[in-house]
Amino acid sequence: MTESVVDIKGVSRLFGKKVALDDVDLSVPKGCVVGLVGENGAGKTTLLKHVLGLFKARTGSVRVFGKDPVTDPEAVLGEIGYLSEIRDLPDWMKIGELMSYTRAFFPSWDDAFAEELRNMFELSLDQKVKTLSRGQRARAGLIAAIAHRPQLLVLDEPSSGLDPVVRRDILSAIIRTVADEGRTVLFSSHLLDEVQRVSDHVAMLHLGKMLLTSSMDDVLTSHHRLTVRFEQPPGSPLKLDGALRCEGEGREWTVLCNGERASVEAQLTQLNGEIVGRAAPTLDEIFVARMNG
C-alpha cells in the first residue's frame, strides 16, 4: 500500500448557509501528481486551504505527512511549498529581499537552486515585486514555493491568466518536483489539458462534493466517446441509460459514456443508429459531460 502524503476524510465546511465542502475525501499518494479540477466555486481553494492548515476542519479530519496542519503547523508547513492563485507577494520588497525573506522560514532552502531558477526566469535581484508583470510575479512566487525543495508542493490555479511560456515554466516545475525522488504535488487547475498531461491522479469537485477520484489512466480508459448516425433524426433530447452526455442534432450525435459501453451501444442500435466512431475522450470532454450532464 502506498503511503499517503495528504489524507482528508469526511471534511465538510459551511460558509454561512452555503455548503463549501460536503463530506469530502481525498488521498494524495506519495510521489504522485494529483490534479484537482472543478468549476469556479466548487470548493477547490477551500479544500487546499484545509491542507495548509489555514482552515480548521469542523467535521472530518485532515492529515498531512500524518500530522494535523492546524495543531502541528511547524511539522507540516516547513515541508510544503505553496503558490496561491492571487500570488500574494509583498509588493514593497525587491526580488533579492523576497528570496532572503522566504529563505528565513525554511531551513532546507537551496541557494544554488533558487539562483538557478532566478536566472532561468530572468528576474534581477533589485527588481521591485510591485513592478513585476503578471508572468514575472508567478515566476517569483514559484521560486518562493519550490526553492526549499518541499516534500509537498501545493499550487492553487498556478496557470490562470498566464501566457504559454510561463505556463510551461510552471508545468516543468511540477515535473521537476516529482522527478526528484518521492516528492508530491497537489494542484488545482481549469486547464484540463495540462491536468491530463502531468497528473497521475485526478480529483473532480462539484458543488463541494467529490465527484470522482481516480488514476488518470482509469478515468481516460473507462470513458468512451461514440459517434452515431441515425437513419431518422432521433427525438431531441436524446436520452440513454448509462450515458453521461448526448450531444448533436439531426442524424449525427456524439454520446459520452462511462464503462457501460455495451449497454449504450445496444440502445443506440435499437434506435436504428449506426456507430461510426469509437474513441477515447479527453479529460476536458469528460469534465464537461460530468458537469453539464
Binding site: V33, I175, R176, A179, D193, R197, T221, L283
Partner: protein, 132 residues
C-alpha cells in the same frame, strides 16, 4: 529524439511515446546502441508526468526495443533490427486500417481504393522519385 504527443489523439500518452520510439527505431532515426534521454529530461521536454515516460520505457524494454543498463541509462537494443521489420508492418497496418475505415465510410470499395493507391504512387514517384 523528437517526439510529439497530443491529447486529441485518444491514445494514452505512454502508448504514444512507445509507438513513436518504435517508429524512430524502425525508420533508423534511432540506431542500435543509441541512448534515449533520461526519464526526467524527456518528461520535462514533453511536459508530461515522469511516471508516464517511465512506463513507456518499461514497456519498450519488455518488448525488447530498448535495454536499460544499470546506472548508465536506456539504450536501443542490439536486437533492434528483426523487430524493426515487424514494427514497420505494424505501423503500416495501423495506417491501412484507418484508410480502409475511412474509404468504407465514403462508400469507396477496396478495388477502387487499390487503383487510387496505384495512381498516387506513380504521381508520388514522379514528384519525389529523384530523392530516393
Amino acid at each position: 529524439m523528437q517526439i510529439h504527443i497530443t491529447e486529441a489523439d485518444g491514445t494514452p500518452y505512454y502508448q504514444q511515446v512507445v509507438n513513436q520510439v518504435k517508429f524512430l527505431v524502425a525508420s533508423g532515426r534511432l540506431e542500435e546502441g543509441e541512448q534515449l534521454p533520461p526519464v526526467r529530461k524527456l518528461a520535462e521536454q514533453l511536459l508530461v508526468n515522469p511516471n508516464t515516460i517511465a512506463r513507456a520505457y518499461r514497456e519498450l524494454e519488455s518488448e525488447g526495443v530498448v535495454a536499460s543498463k544499470r546506472g548508465a541509462g536506456v539504450f536501443v537494443s542490439d536486437s533492434g533490427s528483426p523487430l524493426s521489420r515487424k514494427e514497420k508492418t505494424r505501423i503500416l497496418h495501423e495506417r491501412i486500417d484507418a484508410l480502409l475505415t475511412e474509404s468504407s465510410q465514403l462508400g469507396v470499395g477496396v478495388d477502387s481504393l487499390l487503383k487510387l493507391i496505384d495512381q498516387r504512387s506513380k504521381k508520388f514517384d514522379s514528384t519525389w522519385g529523384d530523392k530516393s
